[in-house]
Symmetry: C2
Subunit: 256 residues, 2 copies
DNA sequence: TAGATTGTTAATCGATTAACAATC
DNA sequence: TAGATTGTTAATCGATTAACAATC
């Protein structure tokens, strides 16, 4: 093409950052590529081929090249991709050049663990506030943060510029918390409560439901069992497992 | 694997349980329908229309009818679906008529929370064993279960008929744990470690990565910000949020 | 019968993939 | 130049959706 444009890439001042409107499936895979690239960087790799990165991320190489081509043209034919450049580019697109502040609501069993999860800090986020509706829990200190009452949310949101709300309350409380988050201007919510949330247009909600993941696996267990239970039907069942290793496609399925 | 008979689907006594090969997108939504149906049953509803159930599950009604039609024909035209019958049918298809035993490996921060998560027990699963490679943690009691050393896995798997393995170890340990699970015959794995696992064909892996969920939200935050940063472009931006509520489509996206 | 709602069709949309020309 | 690998094309596959005939 004419030249390598870095649309609003790090270092570009002035121009409006024209963020490409990526397919959702691509967006969901970029973080996986990013993680693989960080691993490669740590082990001293300066370039990587689409084949190599695809293996590290558990996808096929055509899909990887297609995904990366949506960001622009950052590879070199005959050589591969520059690991550092690609990290910068993906981090830029994902909006990770700023460390976003997260408010975690609900400091029960799961919320407690999330508050202590260092994977958030190491991958671009800062847990800026812990909130709970239970006065019993207010004042408790977890990982250097003091739990505050949910009614403090308006003040906290303003002070900390909360960008993302994480809901780890029981299902019965989740909608009310979502409403409160929306009311203070939060437009991105990660919901761990097993319920559907209603939010206005323009607010993004992602849901993680641990029991649902197990139920999906249960279906496949059930299905595999029903196949091996048909011995008369002959050859084509899954009974004989080949010894070779392969990355199962289902590993990509989450978060899509 | 085929140690005992599946209770036949309602209405199909005697016949081989011919489990339909459902589209993955449908499988991923069935647990959400099931949860919504349980809510309806608890609030005294005996029947529900596709419109009503679709609202409760956060999907559109055409999709819901299409999904349910894959299971067979369990609705009544002009009336709707029988809540109890549909619960039985979905639970059968998902293999939830037996309570599956789960082994949880890695009892650190997150694993601790998972061990105490009552959503597993209430939705068809039994945490049958807690395992860890760290001798310091062996012997600790969590929620009535004593943490055992990972080397006990072969014995535990045989004694408890483990159907699903949950990996909540650091990334560096996850592949080795997966190999150990596969070696004792586990064919379904839920992986919370931020890494790709290699497993033989026939083994299903699902991955939950909390930081990836935040990074996907971060992309959308970044994108929304880049849109509102274009004031000259006039009318069509997302700045003016309509007051009406709507269930965002992105809520369905996980686990697909 | 009249009204309601399912189950199915068919059009459309989006995602995946193999293949290969472009090009380093 | 010869070999390697990207970026793109086009075919295919799977998922979504509106519309409506079937039917309770």
């Amino acid at each position: 093409m004419s030249q390598h444009r870095h649309p609003g890439a790090p270092g570009r001042a002035g121009a409006v950052p024209a963020l490409p409107d990526l397919p959702e499936a691509t967006v969901a895979r970029l973080p996986e590529y990013l993680r693989a690239l960080h691993n490669l960087a740590e082990t001293g790799h300066e370039t990587v081929s689409s084949e190599g990165l695809a293996n590290a991320a558990g996808v096929n190489s055509a899909k990887l090249r297609k995904d990366l081509s949506q960001l622009g043209s950052y590879g070199t034919r005959g050589v591969g991709y520059d690991v550092g450049l690609l990290i910068d580019q993906i981090e830029y697109v994902l909006g990770l050049t700023q460390r976003r502040a997260v408010a975690l609501v609900g400091v029960g069993n799961l919320g407690h663990a999330l508050a202590g999860y260092d994977g958030f800090a190491s991958r671009g986020f800062r847990i800026a506030a812990l909130l709970d509706a239970d006065q019993e829990r207010v004042g408790e200190e977890i990982n250097g943060l003091v739990v505050q009452h949910i009614d403090e949310l308006p003040r906290v949101a303003a002070e900390e510029s909360i960008a993302i709300g994480v809901i780890a309350t029981p299902a019965a409380a989740a909608q009310r918390v979502a409403d409160q988050l929306v009311a203070v201007g939060v437009t991105s919510i990660l919901n761990f409560a097993p319920c559907v949330l209603s939010v206005p247009e323009g607010v993004d909600v992602r849901k993680v439901d641990l029991a649902i993941e197990l139920q999906i696996l249960s279906f496949h267990e059930h299905r595999k069992a029903s196949l091996t239970a048909l011995p008369a039907a002959g050859g084509s069942a899954l009974t004989a497992l080949p010894g070779g290793l392969a990355v199962t496609e289902s590993q990509e399925a989450i978060g899509t």
